[in-house]
């Protein structure tokens, strides 16, 4: 074998070994590296009571209730399998809205998620306001007939 080909085989073997090692590590990290728990995880008891965790999912449509004190809100987060009630005292980001994604930082207290921070999570779709409103109206079944 020519030295050039020897080096090629060596580099390819080393690259494959490194790739395999990293993929294994990533596979092992899969659960730990996730940024938040889902309501299904909370229902399964994966998020310990009182431990600081993040909860992510969709803000359930029609679930946001502002409390009489004006700064506390309650809503539920769902992932399609389970739902977790959340309470939060403070200002939410502009993009926080019903039917959209959100990530809450806080802890589970007696089945309710008490949030210290609320982050909005948006999806990968971008469109002009006309189309966006149309999509939202259609979703809510409120498209008016002309």
């Amino acid at each position: 074998m020519k030295p050039k080909n020897q080096r090629l085989v060596l580099v390819a073997a080393a690259a494959a070994a490194v790739l395999a090692a990293v993929l294994l590590a990533m596979w092992g990290l899969r659960d730990q590296a996730s940024y938040f728990y889902t309501p299904a995880d909370v229902a399964a008891g994966k998020a310990e009571e009182g431990r600081a965790v993040r909860l992510g999912g969709m803000v359930e449509s029609g679930s946001v209730r502002r409390q009489p004190d004006g700064v506390t809100i309650r809503f539920s987060v769902t992932d399609g399998q389970a739902r977790t009630p959340v309470t939060y005292r403070g200002i939410v980001p502009d993009l926080f809205r019903e039917g959209s994604g959100a990530v809450a930082e806080g802890r589970v207290v007696k089945g309710t998620f008490v949030a210290d921070t609320i982050l909005a999570k948006h999806d990968e779709r971008y469109m002009p306001p006309e189309l966006g409103n149309l999509a939202a109206e259609r979703k809510a079944g409120k498209t008016l007939q002309r």
Binding site: L119, E124, G132
Partner: protein, 238 residues
């Protein structure tokens, strides 16, 4: 590639290519940014902040493409001992680091009004920050090895191993739950509406041309420097 192994031949092509790339890149990038700022509609959810897209996405692409270039140069140096490979790798690194930093900064500015935070340690953000640190490591290692008069083989190995971060960045939003949204543009199409999408290819291609122009100019400067050093060495020896 081996046709370019001769630096004189490489320079004959690189000299006009860098000015052409610079001119085309400037025109496309400026045109695309102006279009993204003035002509496209705002997003239905995010409003005007969505315009950061036209800089953020090309920066992310070039930050990653830069390291892919470094990895290719590393392989061609380690396997074929291409005489320009080390020069190319060292020329790419600062440009790639600049775009990786630009991606992090624009992403942070974008994250504050949309997500409600400047920075979160989610999979996508963390792996992109790692890429930036890898660039800094590569630059430091490359200049240290060059000062000692090495061929840059250790740097090339580092460049090759660091490439493992690229699939991690790309798949981070698929493998893990992240705050960053999933990818918008795939092989099957785009979830960005055409009304908002069209300036993006302009800035993508424009910034890529500027990147290539910067790399070629840095390579020419490095070759000129090597020539001066060689000549000085010859003059001091009897």
């Amino acid at each position: 590639m081996h046709a370019l192994a001769n630096p004189a031949r490489f320079l004959r092509i690189a000299r006009p290519a860098s000015s052409w790339l610079l001119a085309i890149g400037l025109a496309l990038a400026l045109g695309g940014m102006a279009a993204g700022l003035l002509l496209t509609p705002p997003d239905y959810l995010q409003g005007e902040t969505v315009r950061i897209l036209y800089i953020h996405v090309p920066s992310a692409w070039l930050g990653m493409a830069g390291w892919a270039g470094i990895a290719a140069a590393s392989v061609s140096q380690l396997v074929w001992r291409h005489p320009l490979a080390a020069v190319a790798g060292r020329a790419i690194a600062p440009a790639g680091a600049t775009f990786a930093a630009l991606c992090l900064v624009t992403g942070s500015i974008w994250g504050r009004p949309t997500w409600g935070t400047w920075w979160e340690w989610d999979g996508r953000l963390t792996s992109m920050l790692m890429l930036f640190f890898l660039y800094l490591g590569y630059i430091a290692l490359g200049s240290a090895e060059r000062e000692r008069g090495g061929e840059g083989r250790v740097t090339a190995i580092f460049g090759l191993v660091g490439a493992i971060n690229l699939p991690i960045i790309h798949y981070s939003v698929l493998w893990w739950r992240t705050l960053h949204q999933g990818q918008s543009i795939g092989v099957t199409g785009s979830s960005i509406d055409n009304a908002l999408l069209w300036p993006l290819p302009l800035t993508m291609f424009g910034f890529t041309c500027l990147f290539a122009a910067a790399v070629l100019m840095r390579m020419r400067a490095a070759l000129a420097e090597a020539k001066i050093e060689a000549r000085q060495r010859r003059m001091t020896q009897p």
